[in-house]
Amino acid sequence: MEREDILPVMYDLVVTIGSEISTKSLLTRTLQRLLYHTSFSAGFICLDVPFCGKAHGQVEVHLDAAVGDFDLIGEIGKPLHLPCALICQAAVREDEQTALLSALRCTQTQYKAYLRLPIDHCGVIVLLAAEIPETNLPLTTMLQPVLAHLAKAIVLCRNNDAYTSGLVTQRDMLEKVFESSYSSVMITDDKSNIIEVNPAFTRITGYTLEEVRGKNPHHLASGRHDKLFYSEMWRSINDSGHWEGEIWNRRKNGEVFPSWLSINQICDTNGKLLHYVGTSSDITKRKEAEAQIHQLAFYDPLTQLPNRRLLVERLQQAFSVGTRSGQHGAVLFLDLDNFKTLNDTKGHDIGDQLLAEVAERLNACVRDGDTVARLGGDEFVVILEALSTKSDEAAGQADLVAEKIRDALTRPYQLSNHIHYSTPSIGVVLFRGHQQSLEDVLKYADTAMYQAKTAGRNTIRFYDPVMQAAIEARAELEEDLRHALEREQLCLYYQIQMDSRNRPLGAEVLLRWQHSERGLISPAQFIPLAEETGLIVPIGLWVLQTACAQLRLWQSNEMTRDLTLAVNVSAKQFRRPDFVAQVQRTLVEAGAKPALLKLELTESIVLENVEDTISKMRELKLLGVSFSMDDFGTGYSSLQYLKRLPLDQIKIDQSFVRDIASDPNDAAIVQTIIAMSEVMGLVVIAEGVETQAQREFLDLRGCHAFQGYLFGKPVPLAEFEAQLKN
């Protein structure tokens, strides 16, 4: 190489240095070009060489670049201890330096010569050769300006590296987010052409980037949305830069799926639109779960009909529509007659089959838009909407549908191998807008259905307000009765029982309800209610406890100590398995003599389950409790059973006593009862004795115990005790 070649070499090196933007590449390429131009075979660069004052010491450095030697390349980036004499001195070209260069521990080539080129204060370049390359160029001085240029380039490249590394870290992070995101991400250019999608997009839609690149996102459109939907979407994006909502798209396999999509505009700092970014999640599973929840929440699983909840919603809607339109609607409340019998006799599977079939037939009877719902059990409700604005016409329309339903439901049912015949009872109520409350409309329909039921079943009845009032009153009474005990509104009246010599035998205790607002309520009114609601059980116990307590109180008084108290026992009370124990406990707790307690049973109680009755009566008899058969003669008592019952007394019903003196039939019956009792060894008592003639008649025939107005009405305790004294 001649002197005239210096400039092109310098030119090449400067161009090389100037064309690199990263430190690693800058050092490697520069070193490579230096080797090329100088004919040294290998070399390395160390940056940030620490200051070293000792000529024979070592200094710890890092190799930042190495070219031409495999061993040195393997040391790049690692800490190395190198002689200060090799790397810390001024620029020099040296031969015969085997010993010094052996510190490099290069195995492939044994270096003898080196050219050291310090890079300002940044570091050093050391070029190596097995034989010193010939040259007549003053390399160390000639390369000085290049090295000064390199020093500046190193500073710039390091700054750029730091900046790029930050960008790369940030880019890597964003890339990871993009790649690993579970949500689908799609990026388009400003013309809405897709330029990038992430793996989640491919997983959800089935399209790879190659398949959608350059295409418009409309490529995914399902066809489920109209133009208005998209124009609204774009209006929002253009106005606010954002849109979010549910959208149905189509996968590559043709499947349509719902997703929650968020679209954002990406603009540069000047507001120029660059991209649209769409992020979406596949909400198919959520939709399915919602649908399932909706189905479970609003539909009856057996018939797939709307349940009560949805019925209420639909009815509300119907009210609102009716309010706007002025049209009537109707609620048809249906119940299958004798459904319980089918369930009990054929089993629930068959019952369920019938319900499912009824649901189908009902659906077939109504128009689209009408609602058929199942409330539970065998109760169905049909809502008819958009009937006439005139109530009589609307009633006619509703009646037509009800008849159609009745007709459909009375046709025979094939349930497994069984042909079943069923009839409905249908209650109908009209409504218009919000004139009545939803609860009232359903209640009225129920009432009307109840009317249909009581009218003999397989019947259609429109709602009757009078009956509704009665039902409401009864419900109110029932509610009050629930609190009667705790409010201490119940009390006992005592009606005296006398023998034929006008000596008091005891009394029948009779329950009375002293209502705070309604006054004294007739037992005929509330006892059946108590029976129906089961309230008779706690009330009956209270009666028993009160009577026993009274017996105990009377023990201390000579006048009352032998009096018996007759207590009426209801069927529900008697049938309880712990009835005997209950009586026993009550007697013990009160300290009353069992012999003074007389339990009055009706024929119906006895006949319901004769064996159980006999068993319980025997147990109680063993305690000393006595039994009276109440209202004897009104039922259908079998003498065979009567014979087996451990009774003490038979009470002739007042209906026979009333006309005993005038009606030969009644007289004959009473006479027979008395005669029969005598034969069976039972005492007879007659109730409802109101006249002296009746008393005499009975006394003459052999009945020597009486109860009735002739002797005294049922009266409160104080009056009764006063009556005794008199």
């Binding site: 490697t28 131009h37 390349i73």
Partner: protein, 384 residues
């Protein structure tokens, strides 16, 4: 790789003959591997080779060249089976990237693959057969060198069609690929000797604007204008756009290396803007000289080759040698002179056999364990 009788030429590419030869070799070397050289004319026989090797369970690699060298002459038929007692590490890379960042990554990957295979043996040759259509072989070699440096010897040649039409030309037992490279890691191998024998012109110019194998500017002037001036000034010939194609091969460029070695670049195409396209890359700011055909000194070339081989391997008498001869050189010298050069080489080396091919570019180190360079117009010789 001092092993006798491992190179076999079969005049026909026939399954039966190949299998027979393989069976013979397998009897001696059960782990036999083969590197096959096929002439372009027999390119359709790759499948025959693959099937034969597969049936004998012999590992196969190979390449297709414009012609083969056999018995001191060029031949366009037959096949060379260059055998290994045991198949060395090899790998076939296809579709090598062109863009610089991707090429750097590809080279790094190749270097990593090679690094994993290098053991403690100090003499390892990275033998490379490139598809000549890969446009950035020089860059790939540069990048490979940055990773492997002096750990391996570099040698190789370019395969393909003499018409420079794309053609799958590299293969192994299953694949035939193009735009790639076949690498073989030859253990206990001391590399190759590469010579062209062109004499340089003392006048040098500078390729001031290049891109790959395209020289746009020389000395800050349009490349073709400078080329015309140089040819006129030094050799008294008038090159025009019309006769350029006849002159290129006779007046190639030489890239002058710092150690005074010259890398030949034959200009083969002229662009409208006066840029010149060469076979092989021309690095930016290369020092260029104009070479002249008559100054090819064959005797000196062959002498250097032979001496080089001896320096590397010691006595080579009776050895088996591999030789790649540049197609451009043959075009320049003419068939007769090129064949004479082959014969002379065989006479000089006194080898048992010289097996080789007409190549489309050659790869050799600048020195022992030196920088791998991509050449034109050279002879590359190595012991097999």
């Amino acid at each position: 790789m001092s092993k006798a009788n491992m190179m076999h030429f079969l005049p026909g590419v026939e399954a039966g003959e190949i299998e027979k030869k393989l069976a013979e070799m397998q009897a001696l070397h059960p782990k036999l591997g083969v590197c096959a050289l096929l002439p372009e004319q027999e390119k359709d026989k790759v499948a025959v080779l693959q099937a034969a090797c597969s049936s004998r369970k012999v590992s196969l690699v190979g390449a297709i060249f414009p012609a083969l060298i056999q018995d001191g002459r060029f031949t366009t038929s037959g096949v060379w089976l260059l055998c290994f007692r045991e198949m060395p590490y090899f790998k076939l890379y296809d579709d090598l990237p062109v863009a610089s960042a991707e090429a750097e990554q590809a080279a790094e990957k190749i270097a990593n693959d090679i690094r994993e295979q290098i053991d403690h043996n100090p003499d390892v040759t990275l033998f490379m057969l490139f598809d000549a259509m890969v446009p950035n072989i020089g860059t790939l070699l540069d990048n490979l060198y940055l990773h492997l440096a002096n750990r391996v010897h570099y040698a190789g040649a370019n395969a393909g069609s003499e018409t420079f039409q794309p053609m799958p030309c590299l293969f192994d037992s299953e694949r035939v690929i193009q735009n790639g490279v076949l690498l073989l890691l030859l253990n206990s191998h001391k590399g190759a000797i590469l010579e062209h024998g062109y004499h340089t012109n003392p006048h040098t110019s500078y390729a001031t604007s290049t891109n790959g194998n395209c020289i746009s500017q020389i000395d800050w002037q349009p490349a073709f204008k400078v080329y015309q001036d140089l040819v006129r000034e030094h050799y008294g010939q008038e090159v025009t756009a019309e006769n350029f194609y006849q002159y290129g091969v006779h007046f190639p460029f030489g890239i002058v290396r710092a150690n005074h070695h010259v890398v030949v670049r034959i200009p083969v195409m002229l662009a409208e803007d006066g840029s010149l396209f060469c076979v092989g890359e021309v690095p930016p700011n290369s020092v260029l000289t104009l070479l002249k055909a008559p100054t090819v000194r064959s005797v000196e070339t062959l002498h250097n080759l032979t001496e080089g081989l001896k320096t590397l391997n010691g006595d080579i008498t009776g050895a088996e040698l591999m030789l790649f001869y540049c197609a451009g050189r043959r075009l320049h010298l003419g068939m007769e002179m090129a064949t004479a050069e082959l014969e002379a080489f065989e006479g000089l080396v006194q080898a048992a056999q010289v097996a080789g091919a007409l190549s489309l570019g050659e790869i050799g180190g600048s020195t022992v364990h030196g920088y791998p360079l991509f050449h034109n117009a050279t002879l590359v010789a190595a012991r097999w």
